[in-house]
């Protein structure tokens, strides 16, 4: 099971200029706030897709749920 730190590290490694704040109570349901310069000019849907794509195939598996909030930094 991924830890909050692993989720944070993977988001920050995959998205240029990203800073993620990740919380989890059970290592299965995660809540993340992600700020990234890469979000400039993107719609919210496009911003969320960038983050969800990091966990392609794992959402619904190891990561049951990822509540997401994105902000342009």
């Amino acid at each position: 099971m991924p830890s909050a730190d692993e989720v944070k590290t993977r988001i920050e490694a995959a998205i240029p200029g990203a800073a993620a704040d990740v919380q989890t109570a059970d290592d299965v349901h995660f809540s993340a706030t992600v700020r990234a310069s890469a979000f400039v000019g993107l719609s919210r849907v496009q911003q969320h897709r960038l983050v969800m794509d990091v966990f392609d195939g794992e959402l619904g598996g190891a990561i049951h749920a990822l509540a997401l909030k994105t902000e342009v930094s």
């Binding site: 849907v45 619904g60 049951h64 749920a65 909030k69």
Partner: protein, 129 residues
């Protein structure tokens, strides 16, 4: 019904309905807290919307996500465009942006912002399953 026919039917439903929500369960009997919460926000805006239950056939979910490039449920569309899932809809509801986007008036009780999300049963659960 073939996968292609299902995909075509979904595309047509998105094109033909100004506001359409793909959810688990129905507005009266939502089967997931995130779907329930999204329904509650739309109902708070008093806007009519079309709801599609994705649960009866797993291929609905599969084809919908292939069309929308969005892995989770619920999914709200406005005039053919994906507005977002529960997180985005919640953020937009709280800022008043959802009412603007959908072209409806924000609830009169809260003129500056739509206020807190209306209560709906929401537990930690798998919104993807």
């Amino acid at each position: 019904m073939s996968d292609t026919a299902i995909r075509d039917a979904i595309s047509q439903a998105i094109a033909e309905n100004d506001i359409i929500l793909f959810m688990k369960g129905t507005p009266d009997h939502p089967a997931c807290g995130f779907s329930a919460r999204t329904v509650a926000m739309l109902q708070a805006l008093e806007t009519p919307f079309t709801a599609v239950d994705i649960l009866p056939d797993p291929r609905i979910r599969q084809e919908l996500s292939a069309i929308s490039k969005w892995p989770t449920i619920p999914q709200l569309f406005h005039k053919g465009e994906l507005v977002g899932g529960c997180d985005i809809v919640t953020e937009m509801y709280e800022s008043g942006e959802l009412a603007d986007t959908l072209g409806v008036e924000a609830p009169a009780a809260a003129p500056e912002s739509a206020g807190p999300v209306p209560a709906a049963p929401l537990g930690i659960e798998n919104r993807l399953g």
